[in-house]
């Protein structure tokens, strides 16, 4: 087990480096491949007034005229030990982990991400709980009562659900459930510690919106997996030896169905930041996704870079956790590798 954990940690660390390299590539190499000169690239980072002096200062500050390998080294160094930027006579410090510095707002990006993190995490975790529990339950009931009215309705909704983009369901909810019919209060974020009730009521719609799409997928997956499992010989054996139907379903049927679902859950949880971008945008929640979208409007490149890097790190860490949990649940994984 320890060897397995070490191996996964090593692979995770390698993945972090690759992800950092790709993110760096997108921001520092791709624009050059697209035909941008050093000056044009610097203009995108310069902030408010792109005067020739300011552009030159930005080139010096970020070392944009240095060889690419050296630039990547500086970029990595910023993440681990922080960086310093020269503004005329002033020195601005971007402390580790330096995910970039917004020259437009004179702000370090990482603390801004951390400040918005509670919003995004509240949204993502709430939605994840709903879609995992809801999706698996519906899928399980559908599989047990295959062909029933419940099964047909649930699978019909699930099929519709996987075809509905988050921003469409969100807008429908806003236009009808909130505005026209007044069933739900206006969504918004209140910190949990200030008022837990307001926190939950403000996030109900965003949770349901984000969870719906995934719940539909999980319901379909669980139903298909469960149907396959329930046809296995050992289920017949379990029934034949007189086990209660409940034990057969939950202990023998559900468990092998759940393992692949958990793998997908890990991947989805990592990628939930992507879905959160759309949900935050629809409901005007000031999480890190909206931070990135607003940065596009202001073409504040360091912010986009910071959020992208953070999102990529988040995916890697989530996958690592799931891998380790998986090895704990399913001992075969440890041996195989």
């Amino acid at each position: 087990m320890i060897a397995y954990i070490l191996r996964r940690l090593g692979a995770g660390a390698l993945l972090l480096v690759i992800v950092t390299l790709v993110t760096f590539g997108i921001f520092y190499v791709v624009p050059r491949l697209a035909g941008q000169t050093t000056e044009q690239l610097a203009t995108m980072y310069v902030g408010r007034a792109p005067t020739p002096e300011a552009i030159q200062a930005t080139i010096d500050r970020l070392g944009l005229d240095q060889p690419i390998a050296l630039q990547f080294w500086e970029f990595l160094k910023g993440i681990f030990v922080g960086a310093e930027y020269q503004f005329g006579r002033n020195v601005v410090e971007c402390s580790a982990p330096c995910f970039g510095y917004s020259f437009q707002n004179y702000q370090e990006v990482f603390p801004e991400i951390v400040r918005r993190l509670p919003v995004t995490f509240s949204l993502a975790i709430g939605a994840a709980v709903i879609w995992l529990v809801g999706g698996v339950t519906v899928g399980m009931v559908s599989a047990i009562k295959k062909g029933s009215v419940f099964d047909r309705i649930a699978m019909g909704i699930a099929l519709a659900g996987v075809s509905l983009p988050v921003f469409f369901t969100g807008l429908l909810a806003l236009a009808f459930l909130v505005h026209a019919w007044g069933i739900f209060p206006s969504p918004g974020y209140t910190p949990f510690l200030n008022n837990p009730v307001a926190w939950a009521t403000g996030l109900v719609l965003p949770w349901l919106t984000l969870a719906f799409l995934h719940a539909a997928m999980y319901a379909r997956q669980t139903r298909a997996g469960m149907l396959e499992t329930m046809g296995e010989d050992y289920i017949r054996t379990a029934r034949a030896k007189g086990l209660k139907e409940r034990t057969v379903v939950f202990k023998h049927g559900l468990r092998p169905t759940l393992t692949p679902i958990l793998t997908i859950f890990g991947l989805d949880l990592g990628l939930v930041l992507g879905g959160a971008v759309l949900t935050e945008q629809v409901y005007s929640l000031n999480g890190i996704g909206r931070y990135a979208v607003q940065a596009i409007v202001q073409s504040d490149l360091p912010v986009i870079l910071g959020v992208t890097l953070f999102g990529a790190f988040f995916v890697v860490v989530c996958n690592l956790i799931v891998d380790l949990l998986y090895a704990w649940v399913d001992p075969r994984v440890r041996v195989a590798g």
């Binding site: 993945l15 690759i18 992800v19 790709v22 993110t23 997108i26 921001f27 791709v30 624009p31 697209a34 035909g35 941008q36 044009q40 995108m44 099929l159 519709a160 996987v162 075809s163 509905l164 983009p165 988050v166 921003f167 469409f168 807008l171 429908l172 806003l174 236009a175 009808f176 505005h179 026209a180 991947l267 990592g270 990628l271 930041l273 992507g274 879905g275 971008v277 759309l278 945008q281 629809v282 990135a292 979208v293 940065a295 596009i296 409007v297 073409s299 490149l301 986009i304 870079l305 959020v307 992208t308 999102g311 990529a312 988040f314 995916v315 890697v316 996958n319």
Partner: protein
Amino acid sequence: MTAPLDASESADRAEPEAITHGVRNTANRSLRQIAWQRFRRDKVALGGGIVVALLVLIALLAPLLTRWFGYPPNEFHQSLIDPLTGGVLRDPSDPMGGLDPMGGISADHLLGLEPVNGRDLFSRIVYGAQISLLVAFGATVLCVVIGTFLGVIAGYFGGWVDAVISRAMDIFLAFPLLLFAIALAGVIPDGAFGLQGNGLRVGVIIFIIGFFNWPYIGRIVRGQTLTLKEREFVEAARSLGASNSYILFRELLPNLVTPILVYSTLLIPTNIIFEASLSFLGVGINPPTPSWGGMLSNSLQYYTTSPHFVIIPGLAIFITVLAFNLLGDGLRDAFDPRSTD
């Protein structure tokens, strides 16, 4: 919601003999014939296929359709709009008469009007289909090209080649695609690669999706290749002295066409939603070119006065994605050798 149901009804009328015809004659038919028989009996999938065909037709005929049934997609009709709220007036001759709850849907404007500028929604939806399908097809083709190439090589050669490509597939699938797409859209300047405006946008989106989503196809192709390469016909070709490239392209690839087609049908709806998401976030297609995601992005400001402006582009996405999903599910079931006839 109505279109898929309508289509499946017309499917009912179109293929009545499929139910009674050729049910018990599976003796000497190829897998493809069996699959076609199964598919023809799957009314829902057939309905999806018909809707897909109609949508492609609509996209191709967009200029004609808008000339016959609509207005140019960027023509303003502000005389029909309430200048205060931006909503569509119930009666254009009476500016005090309140807003039209239907958003101006009439014989003149089949799907009503956009708020504020009053552009004809029918034309914008029809032209939006062009962008949506173009991006989805283009990106899917790119996924298929990269995925098939690398998947077949990984499966056929095995060993360290397989290890490297398989690891790469895992890594690519772990990337936060939407965030990277936002980033790339932000850093690529206009005029890059000799492309301007929306030509560049379409190119960039296709490239991003193709570059990051190819492992979905790659994994399937790899798996299929692993089983196929053990079959006798490959053995026979090799014993006759065929080169690796001959076996790869002449022997294996033709046998991979079916699974690739099935899974690309299932990749298309994902890509449609992805393009709409990017346009919704303002990093996809640039206005004034109509895109469904872009319209929903605008409707975020007007959903209180013009709920139809939420529903119509949203339904366009929903119907398209649903149709492709139904078609893809049906094809997959039809070609699944495990499913009973």
